[in-house]
């Protein structure tokens, strides 16, 4: 974990209301692995007061660069969408426990909903480098919201798109698209997912029926981002009858789907 100033190298509005920032920060670029995140200070003054967490969407360790992709939500992301090349941002990271793919994996399935696709881009790249076949399912509410994911993915990753209004790709939820592929004989070894809670919950049902191991990246409100304040705790199963609270920022954000209490 490092606290450092990172320089903005490149900004791009990849689709309406969705931005990519390429940042220079050697420590983060070299040490991060997929599923980890950074905690970004937005302003020196008090508005907004807290840092904002963003997943690492890509790293270039040799060049000391990394990328985040974010959607405009409120005050913090608004300020962040206006930074310029050369600006220096106060950044804490890499943070958290990310995806831990099984070593002898050959076929990986990635399921992303909305901006939740960001950490999966990083994961897809890493898995492909290790010789995995990667199939990505990516859904958004409408065509205009779809991030051009191919732009951030190596060739060879299979991309399956879904939109709820049917304006692009499969009409409906990304989980429904995934289900039809399962019914048509797709045999996933392990599934990695990030997106709205409802999407993850639907996937967890698949798990219950098919016993496919799954790793989910969760979100929760964060203050410290490093595990000290216990503000980001979520309920997790421990054994049959007991639950405990685990910290999204340190024990997660990636958890085994069978642990999550819905």
């Amino acid at each position: 974990m490092f606290l450092s100033g990172v320089r903005v190298m490149e900004t791009e509005e990849v689709v309406d209301g969705c931005f990519s920032l390429l940042l220079e920060g050697k420590n983060i670029a070299v040490n991060a692995y997929p599923g980890q995140f950074i905690h970004m200070r937005i302003a020196d003054n008090l508005l907004p007061f807290l840092r904002r967490p963003f997943s690492l969407a890509e790293t270039f360790p040799e060049e000391g660069l990394f990328r985040i992709i974010f959607r405009l939500i409120g005050a913090g992301t608004k300020i962040l969408s206006r930074v310029r090349r050369g600006d220096v941002l106060d950044c804490l990271g890499p943070l958290g426990t990310g995806f831990k793919p099984c070593e002898d994996l050959r076929l990986s399935i990635l399921v992303g909903g909305g901006i939740g696709v960001a950490p999966l881009l990083f994961l897809a790249k890493k898995l492909q480098e290790k010789g995995n076949k990667v199939i990505m399912y990516y859904g958004a509410s409408q065509s205009a919201d779809l991030i051009p994911v191919h732009q951030f993915l190596p060739p060879g990753v299979e991309i399956n798109l879904a939109t709820e209004d049917g304006s692009s790709g499969f009409p409906g939820f990304v989980t429904d698209l995934f289900q039809t592929h399962l019914q048509n004989g797709l045999l996933p070894e392990e599934i990695f997912a990030c997106g709205p809670r409802l999407m993850l919950q639907k996937l967890a049902e698949v798990h219950r029926n098919k016993k496919i191991p799954m790793q989910f990246s969760l979100e929760e409100m964060m203050a410290c981002g490093i595990g000290a304040c216990l503000g980001c705790s979520v309920e997790m199963q421990r054994g049959e009858n007991e639950t405990v609270f685990k910290r999204v920022c340190r024990d997660g954000p990636v958890f085994k789907s069978c642990e999550v209490v819905w």
């Binding site: 974990m1 606290l3 200070r41 008090l46 508005l47 907004p48 007061f49 807290l50 840092r51 804490l92 929760e220 409100m221 964060m222 203050a223 410290c224 981002g225 490093i226 595990g227 000290a228 304040c229 216990l230 503000g231 980001c232 705790s233 979520v234 309920e235 639950t243 405990v244 609270f245 340190r250």
Partner: protein
């Protein structure tokens, strides 16, 4: 280096900047960002006799210049603290102050007795009688001067360490509680804990926090906290630890001048984990520039300079 040491009755600190309870955990996480030895003291997360699971999420929400929290005193309990956290903290060389909370007087007494045992390296105890999150206990002890006095009287004889009583601001007159704690044996008072607040999620038309209410902290509460330190300083003789929204050196100076002999930094650690080392350096420079030899010269200064 100016002399930053401060003496609060029986408690001596290397610098007047402490990490406030609940914002620094047990120090483990911050240890990779800063040298824990350089803290005036680390007040650990509120400790209870038995482990506490804490409240369901969401537990926090950002507010203008601050935040609400309703952690619900999640902690591993006394046994795990003594066997796992305390030895590690001791090794780091940090001055450890333990913040304790209970549902009953007996729980406070047991905690105070166990933590006072010689050789375990705890510097002082802070009685959390003001945590607004746990429905039983917490709020009751701190909001009624007589219940507070009875609690402090019971804890005092078993507590061989300096005893700090942390006051809640959620009362009409904080000086009543301050006097009650002083007269029943507190060595030091710390103030303030968080102010009870609420955020409503208008989309779902429900309170945002699962606990419904939470404690407000951060710069938003600073003027309220400064006023309370100022009033309590005039009402009691024992030393005070001030806190509430400190972010900058000037904020800390306001608390010193209102009457605090030391200050604690809470929420500011979240946007800037290096707040305490930064303030320590800045105070050193300030004292040199102003020709101040000891912080005592400015503690309570605002009381002498009123018109």
């Amino acid at each position: 280096m100016a002399d930053l040491r401060v003496k609060l009755g029986p408690l001596e600190l290397q610098t007047p900047f402490m990490a406030a309870s609940g914002t620094f955990g047990f120090g483990e996480e911050y240890a990779s960002l800063l040298d824990l030895q350089k803290l005036g003291a680390l007040v650990v997360k509120g400790l209870t006799l038995r482990p506490r699971k804490g409240n369901p999420p969401p537990r926090i929400v950002e507010t203008p210049a601050g935040m609400l929290n309703a952690i619900g005193l999640q902690n591993p309990g006394l046994d795990v603290f003594l066997s796992r956290e305390l030895p590690r903290l001791k090794k780091s060389g940090t001055a450890v102050i333990v913040n304790i909370a209970g549902d009953t007087e007996e729980e406070y007494v047991t905690l105070a007795r166990e933590l006072s045992r010689a050789g375990n390296g705890v510097l002082a105890l802070e009685l959390n009688v003001s945590c607004p999150n746990v429905k039983k206990g917490g709020i009751l002890f701190g909001t009624s001067p007589s219940i507070l006095a009875s609690l402090v009287e019971k804890v005092r004889p078993v507590c061989t360490l300096p005893l700090i009583v942390k006051l809640t601001p959620n009362v009409t007159d904080i000086t009543e509680a301050a006097r009650a704690a002083e007269s029943s044996g507190a060595d030091i008072l710390s103030l303030v804990n968080t102010f009870l607040g609420m955020v409503i999620d208008v989309a779902s038309r429900r309170p945002f926090l699962a606990n419904e209410t939470g404690g407000l902290s951060g710069p938003a509460i600073r003027p309220l906290a400064v006023r309370m330190v100022y009033d309590v300083y005039a009402a009691v003789k024992i030393p005070l630890i001030g806190m509430g929204g400190i972010l900058t050196l000037e904020d800390s100076l306001q608390f010193f001048m209102a009457g605090a002999a030391a200050v604690a930094i809470g929420s500011a650690n979240f946007p800037d984990p290096l707040t305490i080392p930064r303030l320590t350096g800045e105070l050193n420079k300030y004292m040199k520039k102003e020709g101040i030899d000891s912080l005592e010269e400015i503690i309570g200064a605002a009381h002498q300079n009123t018109v």
